[in-house]
Symmetry: C2
Subunit: 350 residues, 2 copies
C-alpha cells in the first residue's frame, strides 16, 4: 500500500505500441510541458534504446523522476495471451505487472496486447474480493459531459452480479477520473418498459435498485439515449460494450470520410471547406479526444491502465494522468468496501 506523503509510482510499459518507444518519450515531454506529472515513473523496455531516446531530449524530460527497468522481450498484438505470458517472463508487460504485484509501483500503463494485459492482470493480481470478473472501462463523449462506459470487452458473458459490480466499478472510476461526486448510473437495454429487455437486465435492474444507497442509480436507458449524457456511467456486458465502442469509432470514421468526399466534390464546396476547416478540427478533438485515452481494467487488485495500440504522445500522457488520478483517489480501497457491502445486501435480499 502506498504511503500517503510519498509520490506515487507509475510503471510504464514503453514497448508494445504501434508507434514505438519514442512516442512515450514525447509523452514525457508533454507531461512536463503541461505540468501534469506528479508521480515517479518506471519505464520498462529495452534499456539501451530508452536511455538513448532519453539522452537526446534530456533537457525536456523530468529525468529526476525516471527509472528504467530492462525488459528485452515484447508481447506482440497477435500473440495468444496465456502462451505469451508464460513464454515471455522478461517482457515489459509481465515485468510491469510484477511491479504492481510486489507493491513497487502503484499503477501501470501499457499500449500492448489487451488480452495479455487482462489475463496477466487477473491471474497475477487477482480480482478484488467478492468480484469474479474484471471490467474494462472507456470514457465516451456525449451531448453534455463525457461518461464512463463499461464493460468494453473484458467479460462478454456477464451475470446480473457482474453487471451490478460494473455499476460500482464505473461509479468509482467516474469519481476518480471525471471528478463527479455522485455519478448517475444507467443500465443499457432495449425498451425501457417493464418486461422488455432480457431476464439478465431485469435482474440487474432489481439489484441496482437494491444497492441504490451506494450508487446513484437512474434506471434503464436505451441505445438512442447513449450519447445524451444524462448519466455519468453506462453499464452493459463486455459483448455489447465492445461491439458498441468499436462500431461507434467505425461509424465516426465513416461519417468523416463521407463528409470529406462530399466537401471535395466541387470547387465551391472546396472553398467552403477551407474556410470552415478549423470547425472540423475542433469537432474531431471534441468527439475523439486523445485527452481521454486510457481504459482501466477495473476490479482487480492493482491499477492497470490500457491505452490503445496506436496511441500518440497525448493519448499516452492522458493514460499516465488517469493512472495518477486513480492512485490519488485510492480507488481500489473504495471499490473493495463497496463490493463487500453490495454483495451482502444482495445475499440477504435474494
Amino acid at each position: 500500500m502506498r504511503e500517503n506523503n510519498k509520490n506515487c509510482t507509475i510503471a510504464v510499459d514503453v514497448m508494445g505500441s504501434d508507434k514505438g518507444p519514442s512516442e512515450f518519450i514525447r509523452a514525457l515531454i508533454y507531461l512536463k510541458d503541461q505540468n501534469l506529472l506528479n508521480s515517479d515513473l518506471i519505464l520498462l523496455g529495452q534499456k539501451k534504446r530508452i536511455e538513448r531516446l532519453l539522452s537526446v531530449r534530456e533537457k525536456f524530460i523530468p529525468l529526476e523522476r525516471i527509472q528504467i527497468i530492462d525488459a528485452d522481450q515484447v508481447i506482440s498484438m497477435e500473440e495468444k495471451p496465456i502462451t505469451a505470458l508464460k513464454k515471455k517472463k522478461n517482457s515489459s508487460m509481465v515485468k510491469a505487472i510484477e511491479l504492481l504485484k510486489n507493491n513497487e509501483a502503484d499503477a501501470m500503463v501499457s499500449c500492448g496486447n489487451t488480452g495479455a494485459m487482462m489475463a496477466g492482470g487477473t491471474l497475477r493480481l487477482r480480482p478484488i474480493e467478492g468480484i469474479e470478473r474484471p471490467a474494462l472501462a472507456a470514457i465516451i463523449p456525449s451531448k453534455k459531459s463525457p461518461f464512463v462506459f463499461l464493460d468494453v470487452g473484458a467479460n462478454p458473458e456477464s451475470s446480473p452480479i457482474h453487471l451490478m459490480h460494473n455499476a460500482i466499478l464505473g461509479t468509482h472510476y467516474a469519481q476518480a477520473r471525471l471528478g463527479i461526486k455522485k455519478p448517475k448510473v444507467g443500465l443499457l437495454t432495449i425498451g425501457t418498459e417493464q418486461g422488455k429487455g432480457t431476464p439478465i437486465v431485469s435482474k440487474t435492474h432489481q439489484y441496482l435498485q437494491e444497492i441504490n444507497d451506494q450508487i446513484n442509480y437512474k434506471g434503464l436507458i436505451e441505445g438512442f439515449q447513449l450519447f445524451d449524457g444524462d448519466v455519468d456511467v453506462v453499464v452493459c456486458d463486455g459483448f455489447v460494450g465492445n461491439i458498441l465502442l468499436k462500431s461507434s469509432e467505425s461509424l465516426f470514421a465513416f461519417i468523416g470520410e463521407t463528409i470529406k468526399r462530399e466537401l471535395l466534390r466541387n470547387i465551391k464546396r472546396k472553398i467552403g471547406a477551407a474556410l470552415s476547416a478549423s470547425a472540423f478540427k475542433d469537432m474531431k478533438s471534441q468527439l475523439n479526444p486523445d485527452e481521454r485515452s486510457g481504459a482501466p481494467l477495473l476490479g482487480i487488485n492493482g491499477n492497470i491502465i490500457k491505452s490503445h495500440g496506436s496511441s500518440n504522445a497525448v493519448a499516452i500522457a492522458s493514460a499516465i494522468v488517469a493512472a495518477q488520478m486513480v492512485v490519488e483517489c485510492d480507488m481500489i480501497d473504495g471499490i473493495k468496501s463497496d463490493i463487500l457491502l453490495a454483495n451482502q445486501k444482495i445475499e440477504v435480499n435474494n
Copy 2:
C-alpha cells in the same frame, strides 16, 4: 397465395404514424410521380378522413388502384402490445394483419407500435415452420454498398439456431431488397480469433459453416468492421442489434449537432458552411436515407414491413416498395425451403 399474373396487393395501415394519415397520401403521390407503384393498395384507417384526403388530391393519386377499409381504432405507441391487440380488434393494424391472414393482401406496411406489430404478426400469422422466433431487419449504409442488419429487436435472447435462421432470413431479404444473388453473410462478435466471443457465437459460427452451401458465409466480423461493407448481411441477436441501431442513429445526430455548432462559431466558418451546405445535405441523404426505410418482420407467414413512427412520405413510399419487392420475389417460399433444409443438416450433424 398470390396468382402469378395478378398484381400484388399491399395493405397499408395509414394510422399510427406521428405525422398522421396525410403523410401516406403524399407517399401515394410520390409513388405515382416516381412511377414506382406496381401493386394495388388497401388503405386501412378512418375511412371518411382518408376519402377526404384523397379527394383533395385525386388528380395526383392512382385512385384506380386504391381501396379503403374502415378501421376506426388506433393502437398508440405507448400501449402494451398484447392488451392493445386484444382490445382494439377494429384498429387499422389488427385489420391489416387479418387481411394477410385471409390472403386478401400479400404484404402490409405500418408505422405503428412495433411491439404490437411483432406480437400481432407472430400470433396471428405464426412463424414459418422450423422457425421459433421472427427477426426484424434494417438496411444500413456502409463505405461500399448498403447491407442487411438483423435482428434489430424482435428477439433479444437468441440461441445459435435462432441466429442461424437470422442468417437465412437476412440472405433472402438481401436478395429481394438489394438484388444481390449470393449475399455475403458475417456474424457479429468481439475478437475474431478462435475461442473469443461467447459460446453462443462459437456455436452459431459452426452452424453457419455447416450450411455454407445454402448461404455465402464469410465468417466472424468485429464492431470496427461494421460499416466497411465487406458483407451484405450482418447477423446478431436482437439485444445487440437494437442497441447498435439506435445508438448509431443517436451518434449520427450527435456528430451532426456538434458539426453544426462548430460551424456557427464564427463568421469565417459560417461563410464556409454556407458555401459547402449542399455537401452536408448530400451526406445526410447518403447516410440516413428515407429511400431505405422499412424493416420487415422476417420469419413469419406473411410479409409485414415496419416503417418508423416519424416516417415522411418518401420513407413510407420506400416501405411500400420494399413490400412489393419481397412479394415479387416470393421471399417467404424461398425462406421456407431453406429453413427446413438447414434444420435437417443441423439435426443430422449435431
